[in-house]
Symmetry: C2
């Protein structure tokens, strides 16, 4: 607390990201990173950027990157907005498109950055409870609102929504923006991108941190009608002219162009997920249906916090959420390699046996 | 205009950065980039980051980078805040420390992003006119305020302020934050960093885009009391957990550690500046005193807009500001290499001769 702080600073409850431990030899399954590195074509493109040209500013409009993203999604570049990770993109979305006199709606259990953005921009919001089976019931969002945002698949549950449900919501909710946060969509959910040319109030947010294996590079993007993209661009150009550095641009372009590597990586992660879920059932875990590169799992008798702490002693990091109490029994486990699954399963068997 | 836009979007007048032309063979003297590339040690560090580890998030707290910056300035890491270029740092500064019931004060002729931030965050501000000789008169800032911000040297004039003047202001203005934006300080002005341990309301902002030759990498930082840094961190952690990507971190650390290369580069730029000013005097230009890597120059008879347009025809880009009218006669010329100075001077001689 300080006389020098603006009012908003006193009221903030910042987001707490998953731990990025500085230890080696950990099985790190806590922040949903891809177990496979980026495409070799991405690494080759990045090496070229370590050059004298770094003395020059990057393109403030990131035109080449927008063109590559547009091509990958069969949209126009004017339907693309890019930012320093999808968290920055979402921040601009909240300020530019989701702050209205009516409350913003989002699920009570979801990406915990959403209420933080509302605090930062003084946005009125209302949460809608998930159903008993932890699914999002989009029919509950048919009420006056200043915007709607939800992830598909949802976090931290991993449960995917059917595209038909999203389209139904877009049909009845025409007067505010519907943001579908598709950070994990490539691991088994249906993308709403194909609806963009039909619904002028649909905005879809993607990241290169998960399926494209580039969490360390910080690139995310939004896709939507030109009108929505313009609002984001106006805010970005009032905040930071050049959020995408030369490496981020070059690496992201190469990643968007290597669809074969991307698909092969996603396929491997999904295969590992299916095998892991099967083994977890054998250890008395129940696992929510997942369309993401993580699973949300609950043991028949042991608590989520206890499992997390015991795994940590074995140098395996998963993520546990204390609140709300409905999800406290669960652990969220990022999908790693098959070898990491084997280490995890062996450790879990010991942990459960010793309890 | 759109029903989907938040109120603030309708009112924004975004910042317009200097042009980043996509043509080759230009003499580009319009955005104050360093004519010399980054240190070879920086390039070596950057090449190592093009690796499998990009699948992992960077350190959200950028601890290693903060330590390197702290060491370069003989401060503690808790006195350092880092961001995606000094524009992002300044944006957080405006929201976290400069939004109060009393108006923010800054010069009427200065970095034109300041009023844009005020628009984005709805900050009340008041501009203070420069003196007739274009200097900032800090005694004019002795009035009720919610904060004070100015660049040293000022932009786009390049005129440096004496540190004793800044210290006088800090002594009389104890109840609001004084931000000294030192983007260009290393080219011949006195840094206020040495006052940080004495004045708890002083915040100094630096960038790696100019003296450290890394405009393409996007790293800036703020230095100040722990209390001020905490406010910035709270806003950053409510906006984007990971603004510094793995390349930005590695390159910036290496740049902060190579003080010899940094000093040699600054010395070369200052020598070229002195020689250029002398030659411009011979072409009937008057040049404001510069402590920056650019100069603000006015010809005896030709208008700034005309000179800028004629140079453009010769593939030389400088920057002209139409408003306010007091600076319309001037051109802002970034300091390039001696060879670029020679091309510029030869072109100017032709332009003036033909007019």
């Amino acid at each position: 607390m300080s006389q020098f702080w603006s009012d908003v600073v006193h009221k903030l409850t910042p987001y707490v990201p998953g731990e990025q431990p500085k230890l080696d030899n950990l099985v790190k399954l806590n922040t949903n990173e891809n177990p496979y590195g980026p495409s070799p074509k991405v690494l080759a493109a990045l090496k070229l950027e370590a050059a004298e040209t770094l003395r020059l500013y990057p393109d403030p409009n990131s035109d080449a990157l927008k063109a590559a993203i547009a091509q990958a999604h069969q949209l126009s570049a004017a339907q693309v907005f890019v930012g320093n990770g999808s968290d920055e993109v979402l921040a601009h979305v909240f300020q530019a498109l989701l702050k209205h006199s009516r409350p913003l709606l989002f699920p009570d259990i979801t990406y915990s950055f959403y209420p933080v953005y509302c605090g930062l921009y003084d946005i009125d919001y209302q949460t809608i409870a998930l159903a008993d089976d932890f699914t999002i019931k989009l029919e509950d969002y048919d009420q006056p609102n200043g915007g709607i945002v939800f992830p598909n698949p949802n976090a931290p549950t991993g449960i995917p929504l059917a595209l038909a449900e999203i389209e139904k919501l877009l049909q009845i909710n025409k007067h505010s923006v519907v943001v579908v946060d598709e950070a994990y969509v490539d691991f088994g959910a249906e993308s709403a991108v194909k609806l963009i040319n039909t619904y002028p109030n649909l905005l879809v947010v993607h990241t290169l941190s998960k399926a494209r294996s580039l969490a360390g590079l910080r690139v995310g993007y939004a896709l939507g009608a030109v009108d929505l993209i313009e609002a984001l661009t106006r805010v970005k150009d009032s905040f930071n002219s050049y959020p995408i550095d030369r490496f981020a641009s070059a690496g992201a372009i190469a990643a968007m162009q290597d669809q074969a590597y991307f698909q092969a990586t996603c396929d491997k992660v999904m295969a590992t997920r299916a095998a892991l879920i099967k083994e977890l059932h054998g250890l008395d875990f129940s696992v929510l249906p997942s369309g993401a590169n993580f699973i949300f799992a609950k043991h028949a008798t042991m608590d989520g916090a206890e499992i997390t702490a015991l795994l940590r002693q074995k140098n395996i990091i998963v993520r546990h959420f204390k609140a709300p109490s409905r999800i406290a029994p669960y652990v969220r486990i990022s999908i790693g390699t098959d070898a990491q699954s084997a280490i995890l399963l062996s450790a879990l068997a010991e942990v459960i046996h010793s309890a």
